[in-house]
């Protein structure tokens, strides 16, 4: 078997990952003051409007961009040119200011944010009242409790994986898998924060998918390590790891590749609202594969060495 020394760079890869995560989070919180806001998580204004036939998606998007209003524009119906416009809470002050610029005679006095936004829209796009099909100030769909549930969920899942893998193989492999999983989630969150990707239902779906993919990937690699280590206590674990990773490399590349084909198809396909989903997933697949080889395996080796030292 080809012999590649995967574990040679373990300190480099471990510190690289650590620094990348720290960097991502530092940028997220110092530069942007946290993760991006989104309607799904923080609530906001949601309107459904029927635009005149000559107005296109680009027209609305350019308008919002020029006014620096953060908006998600979703086409609901092609024939009638009906769009759903989602405005995050962060843009309320901007809307407030723009509302005040509407000439007195063209606006009705109103205090609610959603009313003011609708008036602004009607003024800017010259919409009659009946073309605003619905307007709501909506609460978060997935936010709030999701963060709490998410953390409980992740911790419980990790505990169960630890338990199952400890029973099925050895604690060091279980521990390494769990840490690598946390690594994948943190890395992806760091990316989401760094790029200020808006958290949404699709992003949650992407995170869950990459979690599943990553578990799968780690177990395949560790199963091989366990199999190869069986009855070979005298052989250095790093050798076994290197051989095992090399043996599963064909599979790892194939699986990552086939998964990426589907994901890339979505990115190239150009479904605007699925872009973030696919992008996060693509990143997740790469990170998941990377961490199986360069994070999980080395950690099990380091753990092994520490234990041996302790009992030596």
């Amino acid at each position: 078997m080809r012999n590649i020394n995967f574990t040679k760079y373990k300190y480099f890869t471990l510190s690289f990952s650590f620094l990348a995560i720290v960097f991502g989070f530092v940028v997220t919180f110092s530069k942007y003051g946290g993760f991006a806001h989104s309607l799904d998580f923080n609530g906001g204004l949601r309107t459904v409007v029927e635009l005149p036939k000559d107005k296109t998606r680009t027209d609305i998007e350019t308008y919002f961009q020029s006014k620096q209003i953060e908006a998600v524009v979703i086409l609901l119906e092609k024939e009638k040119n009906i769009y759903q416009l989602d405005i995050g809470l962060g843009s309320l002050p901007t809307i407030e200011a723009l509302y005040k610029e509407i000439p007195e005679d063209k606006r009705e006095s109103s205090t609610s944010a959603i009313d003011r936004f609708v008036q602004l829209l009607r003024f800017e796009f010259n919409l009659p009242k009946e073309k605003v099909l619905s307007a709501d100030q909506v609460g978060a769909v997935v936010g709030g409790e999701l963060t709490e549930v998410g953390i409980t969920l992740l911790l419980t899942t990790l505990a169960i994986i630890l338990l199952y893998l400890s029973i099925r193989s050895q604690f060091k492999f279980a521990l390494a898998s769990a840490i690598a999983l946390v690594h994948d989630i943190l890395m992806t969150l760091a990316l989401i924060g760094f790029l200020q990707i808006k958290p949404s239902v699709p992003i949650i779906a992407a995170l869950l998918t990459l979690l599943g993919y990553s578990i799968n990937d780690k177990i395949v690699v560790f199963d091989r390590i366990r199999e190869n280590a069986h009855g070979k206590d005298n052989l250095a674990l790093s050798n076994i790891i290197n051989v095992s990773i090399a043996q599963t490399l064909g599979r790892t590349i194939n699986t990552s590749f086939t998964t990426m084909i589907s994901v890339v198809a979505i990115i190239v396909g150009g479904a605007a609202e699925l872009y973030d989903f696919a992008f996060v997933l693509l990143f997740g697949v790469i990170v998941g594969t990377y961490s199986s080889i360069y994070i999980a395996a080395p950690i099990s080796e380091i753990y092994d060495q520490l234990r041996k030292k302790k009992f030596a």
């Binding site: 759903q84 779906a205 869950l208 578990i215 177990i219 064909g250 998964t259 589907s262 979505i266 190239v268």
Partner: protein, 644 residues
């Protein structure tokens, strides 16, 4: 595993799956029901409505969709007042779209998608098509909160008489000690039923959910989802595709009950007191100050049930009505049949409910040609029939009022005992009201009143643009993966593709059978399933190739390959399964949708990769005379491929 007979199993499963999935692809028939009042409109208006429907139809469905609509361009005959739409992929969103765009013409709640023969056979007519969640097609979400205070007060009415009797026994000096003991026990038993534990609340909410489910099915609304939110004592109803339907909300919330209560005995002491007072006011020319006028104003101003209840309670205090009685308004129409139903006078009824809606079933509205009005006839349950007979024989000459919601709609005198278990209610009903009353009796009343806690219109997370492009992209992705697998593993790749397809088909059938509602995270779960299924095959083939490289005979290499890969695949899938089950139990909304597809996907993946792939592989190697198995990509040449 080396048996042809085993092939029957996947074959059988596939046939069943295809059968289950058939309604999704079959030609379907939809009845779009025309509103009755359209026929009484002037002809010009009818024409505008019809041309409105067909102009839009031409645009949307006229050219390419292959949908047909009959009769075309005209109003359907009055005796068959519906359009018949035939075509494939008729979705709930489309049905709603047609209805909502033609609200003046279409009676949305009566539209009916005819079940296919398969649905009739397997499900007794219940739909088998895959449902799309609100995040994919948009819709309306209503959260209804249970009003348990109202519920207990109703319960007290039901037990009012028994409590009074029991208290009498307790205070009776002459009663035997054991009788008193018994009464005491019964009293505390009743008292405890007023105490609502969280468990009890859930039970009542479950009942309410069932009734809402029923109401929605009989209304033929499109794919409603009814869920209990334990934390809030509320019921959440999701109506995909529906964007704004006040009528549906009214049906959902309708907490009206039907019950019989005896009126105070003749000579109507309290009723005449009230009536006398009212008359005096009228004589003084102070009609605006009479209670009945004030009450009518409350109703006209839509002050709500609470205000009405308070008003009636105030009346009870004003006239010193004893605790065993309650003041109700008698509702009727004015002189003409078209005038509105309004409270016309007050009556005083026993607090005790003589016969509740639970004792009645099977109500039918019918037209009474003798009185030129609508009435409702119904059947009594065996228990109810017995109660009714006792009631009518013991109280001959008294008035028995029928209370619908909080309206007394008639109070006929009991002339003779009524036996036989059938009875009817006649009041001054319109047809609509008769139908509503019949529905209330047939479907049962909500056990608890529900108030709207939250109503929200939900736009889809993704627009149609994205869904169209996304589906195309996923399909292309799948296709490329399959091509790559064949390119890389040749025959093995082909078998892997085959088992992947079977996997997705079985999974889709399973989800359909479970009435799963597909959401975006659900789709993500399916994509992950596909990825893991491909991975399982990759693991197997890599193992087989290793065996071949070590010089083993082909058939042994295949068997050993599968055996070596078995635990790896098991471990990976079982761990993911555990994570998935946790997500189902702990997660909400989007997490749950993802986890359900993932968990079932794992089950189907284990079946297809460990059983089906192996079966195909071993059959082709052992029985179909394949001696060379090349599991290397095409450009790698024929390095291996040992003889069997």
């Amino acid at each position: 595993m080396q048996s042809y007979r085993l092939l029957l199993l996947p074959f059988f499963i596939l046939v069943v799956s295809f059968t289950i999935l058939y309604p999704n692809f079959a030609d379907r028939t939809l009845k779009v029901v025309v509103r009755e009042d359209v026929y009484s409109l002037p002809e010009a208006e009818q024409k505008t409505l019809v041309s409105g429907l067909f102009d839009r139809w031409e645009k949307d469905y006229g050219k390419s969709s292959g949908w047909t609509i009959e009769p075309k361009g005209t109003l359907p005959p009055k005796e068959n007042p519906f359009y018949t739409v035939k075509g494939r992929f008729i979705t709930s969103a489309k049905i709603n779209q047609i209805s909502q765009e033609n609200q003046g013409l279409v009676n949305e709640s009566k539209n009916k998608l005819e079940p296919t023969w398969i649905e009739n056979m397997i499900r007794g007519g219940k739909s088998l098509s895959i449902k799309l969640g609100l995040d994919l097609q948009g819709g309306m979400r209503v959260v209804l909160k249970g009003d348990f205070e109202d519920y207990t007060s109703k319960l007290r009415d039901l037990y009012a008489k028994e409590i009074a009797e029991l208290n009498l026994t307790l205070n009776n000096q002459a009663a035997k000690p054991e009788e008193k003991e018994k009464a005491k026990n019964r009293l505390s038993e009743i008292e405890s039923s007023f105490d609502l534990s969280p468990m009890r609340k859930i039970v009542e909410l479950e009942k309410a959910k069932m009734i809402i489910d029923n109401r929605l099915t009989t209304q033929n609304l499109t794919e409603p989802q009814v869920r209990i939110q334990k934390e809030q004592d509320a019921i959440e109803v999701s109506l995909p595709g529906v964007s704004n339907s006040a009528a549906i909300l009214e049906i959902l919330q309708n907490t009206e009950t039907v019950e019989y209560r005896l009126e105070e005995p003749n000579p109507f002491t309290f009723k005449s007191q009230i009536a006398e007072n009212e008359r005096r006011m009228m004589d003084l020319g102070q009609r605006e100050k009479t209670d009945i006028y004030l009450f009518q104003e409350l109703v006209k101003n839509k002050a709500g049930k609470k205000a009405q209840d308070e008003f009636l309670a105030e009346l009870e205090r004003k006239y010193n009505i004893p605790k065993d009685y309650k003041v109700y308004a008698m509702w009727a129409r004015g002189n003409s049949a078209k005038s509105t139903l309004l409270p016309r006078s007050f009556v005083v009824l026993e607090r005790k409910i003589a016969l509740s809606g639970n004792d009645m079933t099977n109500a039918q509205p019918s037209y009474n040609s003798n009185s030129y009005g609508w009435m409702v006839s119904f059947t009594l349950t065996p228990n109810g029939a017995e109660k009714f007979f006792d009631l009518t024989s013991e109280n001959r000459g008294r008035n028995l009022a029928i209370v619908w919601g909080d309206k007394v709609i008639s109070n006929p005198v009991i002339n003779d005992p009524i036996a036989g278990g059938r009875a009817e209610i006649s009041g001054s009903f319109s047809e609509q009201e008769a139908i509503r009353l019949a529905n209330v009796i047939s479907e049962g009343a909500l056990p608890i009143p529900l108030s709207v806690l939250e109503m929200r219109f939900i736009g889809p997370t993704l627009g149609i643009e994205s869904i169209e492009v996304g589906v195309k992209a996923v399909a292309i992705g799948f296709f490329l993966v399959m091509v790559y697998m064949i390119f890389y593993y040749r025959l093995g790749g082909f078998i892997a593709d085959l088992s992947l397809l079977v996997n997705i088909i079985i999974l889709a059938a399973l989800l359909t059978l479970m009435d799963f509602t597909l959401t975006l995270p659900g789709i993500a779960g399916i994509i992950l399933t596909a990825g893991m299924a491909v991975d399982a095959n990759v693991i197997i083939y890599e193992r087989i190739r290793e065996e071949i490289e070590e010089g083993r005979a082909l058939s042994i290499a295949v068997t050993r390959g599968f055996e070596n890969a078995f635990w790896t695949i098991m471990d990976a899938n079982v761990t993911t399964l555990i994570a998935g089950i946790l997500m189902i139990r702990l997660g909400n909304g989007p997490i749950k949708g993802f986890a359900i597809t993932l968990c079932w996907g794992i089950v189907t993946t284990l079946f297809t990769s460990l059983f089906l792939s192996r079966l195909f592989m071993e059959l082709s190697v052992n029985r179909m005379g394949i001696h060379h198995l090349n599991l290397r990509p095409f450009f790698f040449g024929k390095k291996e491929g040992n003889h069997a």
